[in-house]
Amino acid sequence: MSSPMTPGIAAARLPQEMLAENFDDLHAPYAPHEAAVAADRCYFCHDAPCVTACPTDIDIPLFIRQISTGTPESAAKTIFDQNILGGMCARVCPTEDLCEQACVRELAEGKPVEIGRLQRHATDTLMAKQRHPYDRAPETGKKIAVVGAGPAGLACAHRLAMHGHDVTIYDAEAKAGGLNEFGIAAYKSTDDFAAREVDWLMGIGGIEIKPGMRLGDDLTMESLTHCFDAVFLGVGLGGVNALRADGEDKGGVRDAVDFIKDLRQTDDLTALPVGRDVVVIGGGMTAVDAAVQSKLLGAQNVTIAYRRGRDAMSASEYEQDLAASKGVRLMFNAQPVAIHGNGAVREIELEYTSDNGTGLKGTGETIRLAADQVFKAIGQMLTTDGGLNLEGRKIAVTGAGRTSQAGVWAGGDCASGGDDLTVTAVAEGRDAAMDIHATLMGST
């Protein structure tokens, strides 16, 4: 058995029991009394700021009141009415930047109502009853293809199926769920929640998932638009941006999303190798997820190197604190210039940066950090545009996800506009579904 001190990349740095503990729920679910006390703090604000801050417009004061009056199942219904993936969003939403940041108690006391955990309490309660709470409208005979079984595609498919349409979801991976299944830190989605949520969502009926089908390889836009009445693209961002640093191709340099994916899919954490000295390049949630999980797997030293200052970091303050509390070092104003090592990475060379208002520039001063593993988390990019018009590096959409081609909608990370968040993807998928429904049924 190895230890955190074992040089190089090694598996089983920590005993199994410690790994199990490390990767347990980040926040344990509320006990009923805790939920009651937490719910009691909600003021039931009028035209509540938390609702405005929620990309899916969940009626938060109402669902919290329903929890406090002993009807968490009704609360869950209030949530799912707006966000069918409310269970996952309760776990992964950066609530500190959204609803909880807007909470009037955050303003008053610096302690918001714990909306995310309350949402989990409600959705877990209803889902534990294994009852899909929606009925499907009579079948319309319309067929819709959804490409991508991530949050946007699932939300779109569910809403379409609810309105009686037949939906076929194609996904490149062997399992549905998209980033919920492959791309979120394991301690945010324990007990195979992503897969359970997909199963539960499928309870609406009228949805067929075809895995292992990648747009561009196994599917073409021509065949989809020919065979279906409408197409929704929720393909996400499949590619990872390059570091553009010398030696990027050396061994031990990986995409953070692949590392996270391996972590999520493994059933034996002790078999998962991780470096002793890990450096993560980037400043977003993926960087934090990769860094924290490296630490939890037993890496001795983990550093996040971000090229800008703390203020510009897209990972929230909460995520930064989480990383720091797990022992991750946060390094700012440092950009990679070279990866050193004979075949495999041994050191990473970073250049300090500054921005005097004319853009970020290297200062010329460099520093070398020991590294036997480097994770790239500097953003993902679109790999399939389906021949549609782009806006910047994403599929251009207007209104509720309408692309440049009639009959084709897009949403989630692959589409322009909105933050790259699970909850935003759900909102976009849902709204596109409503627009598709209105278009197909001739009410627009």
Partner: protein, 434 residues
């Protein structure tokens, strides 16, 4: 989804949640918003006679009692009946009812105790198309000093007389709203029934002073340094209201008289409890004034979920279900014996049960050096105080002893048969069991 439609006196409404006659129902603007928010009906704020409008104070009208986190537990008010011209109210009622035919529209009325006053106003109210009237015999402040409101409601003969006039000059349902500021609520209820009332509604507000400002020595709400008792309402009054409702529901003389329940209804559960005690619907005011009209959404979803879970398909099925279980003390089963039981896994060792029992009750809880609290069955009379003061729900429970077991406190065998005070040997007036 359970069907929440209710039929109260032939007046249909999509749900049993009506807004009580009060500030929220004083104007067309508010009532339209209430109906848009989903309320099943409203009782329009009390109309007075034609003439110079009522005058209200120009300072604080409300006083409050709070929990530690400023949760509003009780509210009192010194506002009078509507201070807007009669004709304006009547026109608005007519318009709103026409636009919302599926909602219940009841008009609250308070005019002097003279036949002519009622004879004058009733046809004008009838012309609005409203579904019924509610007689405000309950308002305890201001108007009662002028011989109206609670001043009428405290005299059963007046209630009967005015109700009779209303039945004579108005052909739709007449609801009599009762004041709790009396000693026996069954008397005014019976008087209303004799007068021909179609239903009673209760409770109106309770005489109250919510607080005294210890700097100015003025009761709150204070008007230029002086205060007057106001009408108390909100969650704090619910137990009083439910008791009064149950008394009317189980009194043979008034049993079956439709009741509209009022008093602290804040959640679906409150409503379900009032309905189980015999109410055909409930009226809400303080909850709406505290949280806004949207509050009705929780009431509807909660009541519907509970009814689904219990298998009730209509509100009608719930009405009065608890009434047979409301009885006099003398009929409670004295052979029922329970003992407190503390679940050690749930106990957080705060010792509140011990303090309560040791200091103020029966010395039936033992405390060990390591702060383990256990019930002494030889002393426990199952009073429930430990349960009531325990901060952990279900940590202490009352467990019924089984027939045949020996109660360690009395040394007597627990008997299977029901036996109450009327046959108890210690009762000098006991009658032999038949």
């Amino acid at each position: 989804m359970a069907d929440l439609t209710t039929d109260f006196l032939g007046i249909k409404s999509p749900n049993p949640f009506w807004l009580a006659s009060a500030p929220p129902t004083d104007k067309e603007y508010n009532v339209r918003r209430a109906f848009e928010a989903g309320w099943g009906g409203v009782v329009w704020k009390t109309l007075g006679s034609e003439g110079p409008p009522v005058v209200n104070v120009n300072g604080p009208r409300y006083g409050a009692i709070y929990g530690a986190d400023r949760r509003l537990l009780g509210l009192n008010n010194i506002e009078l009946i509507t201070d807007r011209p009669l004709e304006v109210n009547l026109e608005e009622i007519t318009r709103v009812k026409a636009d919302y035919p599926d909602r219940a529209m009841i008009v609250s009325i308070m005019v002097p105790c003279e036949e002519q006053a009622w004879k004058d106003i009733l046809p004008r109210v009838a012309a609005t198309g409203a579904d019924g009237i509610e007689l405000n015999f309950g308002c305890p402040h201001g108007m009662s000093e002028r011989g109206m409101g609670a001043a009428v409601g405290q005299v059963p003969e007046y209630i009967e007389m005015v109700t009779r006039w209303c039945k004579q000059y108005y052909d739709k349902p007449v609801i009599v709203k009762l004041t709790p500021n009396i000693t026996d609520v069954r008397k005014p209820a019976a008087a209303a029934m004799r007068g021909g009332a179609d239903a009673v509604s209760l409770i109106n507000t309770i005489n109250s002073i919510t607080s005294v400002n210890l700097d100015t020595m003025s009761p709150e709400p204070s008007i230029d340094g002086k205060g007057s008792h106001g009408g108390y309402c909100g969650p704090a009054v619910k137990p009083i209201a439910m008791s009064m409702v149950s008394e009317i529901a189980r009194n043979p003389e008034t049993h079956g008289l439709p009741i509209s329940g009022i008093g602290g209804v804040t959640t679906w559960r409150d409503a379900a409890e009032f309905i189980s005690l015999g109410c055909g619907n409930v009226q809400v005011c303080t909850a709406a004034m505290t949280y806004g009209f949207k509050i009705v959404e929780e009431m509807k979803s909660g009541l519907s979920q509970w009814m689904d879970e219990k298998g009730y398909t209509s509100v009608e099925e719930v009405i009065g279900r608890a009434v047979p279980n409301v009885t006099d003390w003398q009929y409670l089963n004295l052979n029922y014996v329970a003992k407190a039981k503390i679940n050690q896994d749930d106990c957080i060792k705060c010792g509140r049960c011990y303090a309560a029992c040791e200091d103020t009750s029966h010395q039936a809880i033992a405390m060990s050096d390591d702060r383990t609290f256990t019930v002494i069955d030889e002393e426990c009379v199952a009073c429930n105080l430990c349960v009531d003061v325990c901060p952990v729900e279900d940590c202490i429970i009352m467990e019924a002893m089984q027939p045949g077991e020996v109660d360690p406190r009395t040394g007597k065998v627990v008997e299977k048969e029901y036996a109450n005070w009327t046959t108890h040997p210690n009762n000098p007036g006991a009658v032999a069991a038949e």
